[in-house]
Symmetry: C2
Subunit: 235 residues, 2 copies
């Protein structure tokens, strides 16, 4: 059965790396003893090695051994044989460029459809949507396409940020940007606030965490979605 | 002589469209009676016609007639024959996609190098850099390349935003994003705060407006650049 966690952020304000998700991950990765980590998004430009070292102690608490995908001779094979997959955050353009470079999109898609449990945070969540067209990141690398995994039939906007009241900044709000997206793209966009995540179990998609999410659909007013909502039919 | 204004924003907080730049534009577009406007970035998804209508009254005050590039049979020819060019803000991905679609990048580059005065605001400023790799916009369209006009030998970040003190948001700051850019790209990046602009006259590039700009260079600490500074040698 398909098992996916799509988290807005790895870290909530005042927390440590993945700590708020730990009980969820214990359940999600139950019966798993090894995990393949995809560190390609390289937040702040840290190395694949450094990023993997940061992730290891968290999963150690769940008795899961982490190996970075860069450590494997054959990355496609590593994904095929993985017991579990985690794609970390950072820059989505860099991440997607690397996934295309190593021809990994189809491999991950197939593994997840066949039941390999997947965790994404931030950029690793962005790629769970149909395209990376609603990322917040800077285009610091040029991927061959914006098409991504399509583990859900809509797009995601992690780190969703409400307009800042009283702001004197004239740049676009997140809501304006997603509105512009809908002038060119039909799919729904779910703005996931930090601390929220989607749980995908088979065909069932549920909003989890303490906060509501914000749903944007072409030609409609944006609406708030309460935690616990069933989003299985969202397109 | 090359004459370019590269403005962070069209509108400053509390102001009206282009009002803060009007005295500068009167000088910049002296002896000009017609201007070709490039509305392709379509802020908020407005039509090319609506956007052009918004621009006309501003230039009317300078006795300049505005025609949108979408009104011309042959856009390349329109740029070649233009007395002046203005590219407005909106979404940089959409703008650059359209410029490639109509094969306009070389035409604009040549016109500007040959002395046609150019004004860019926001997305229209982003494209004055070597690449659009430091835009803040969402990738809602997929351009065939991120290469842009290169009217200056560095990159620009319009609407530059300082980290918000006390923010509990865990998404990257603008400074972090530009730092990540420098892991993959060598060129300097100038963060232009709203109300600032660059004036390019021949080979001389000068920072104008009331605020300092923030300069990011690969492998160096970011520094503040005072208004009035000569940036002619920035690479």
């Amino acid at each position: 059965m398909k098992k996916v966690i799509i988290a807005s952020t790895s870290t909530v304000f005042g927390g440590t790396y993945l700590d708020y998700l730990l009980p969820t991950l214990a359940e999600h990765f139950k019966n798993v003893s090894t995990l393949v980590f995809i560190p390609f998004a390289r937040p702040g430009g840290i190395s694949h090695e450094e990023y993997t070292e940061k992730v290891k102690p968290v999963f150690k608490q769940l008795n899961i051994d982490v190996k970075g995908i860069h450590e494997f001779e054959n990355p496609i094979d590593a994904i095929k044989k993985a017991e579990a997959i985690f794609t970390g955050g950072g820059n989505t353009f860099v991440l997607v460029s690397m996934l295309y470079k190593f021809n990994l999109l189809d491999a991950i898609q197939n593994a997840v459809e066949n039941g390999t449990p997947y965790l994404g945070t931030s950029a690793g969540s962005n790629i769970c949507g149909l395209t990376m067209g609603t990322t917040n990141d800077m285009p610091i690398a040029y991927p061959p396409s914006f098409r991504t995994l399509g583990l859900v039939s809509f797009n995601l906007n992690p780190h969703y940020l409400d307009p800042i009241e009283g702001s004197q900044h004239m740049g676009e709000t997140r809501e304006t940007r997603i509105g512009e997206f809908h002038h060119y793209n039909p799919q729904s966009v779910l703005g996931l606030r930090e601390g929220s995540w989607l749980e995908v179990l088979g065909k069932t998609i549920t909003l989890k965490g303490d906060l509501p999410a914000r749903l944007f659909q072409q030609g409609k007013e944006a609406v708030e979605i309460e935690t616990g909502a069933d989003l299985s039919n969202l397109r």
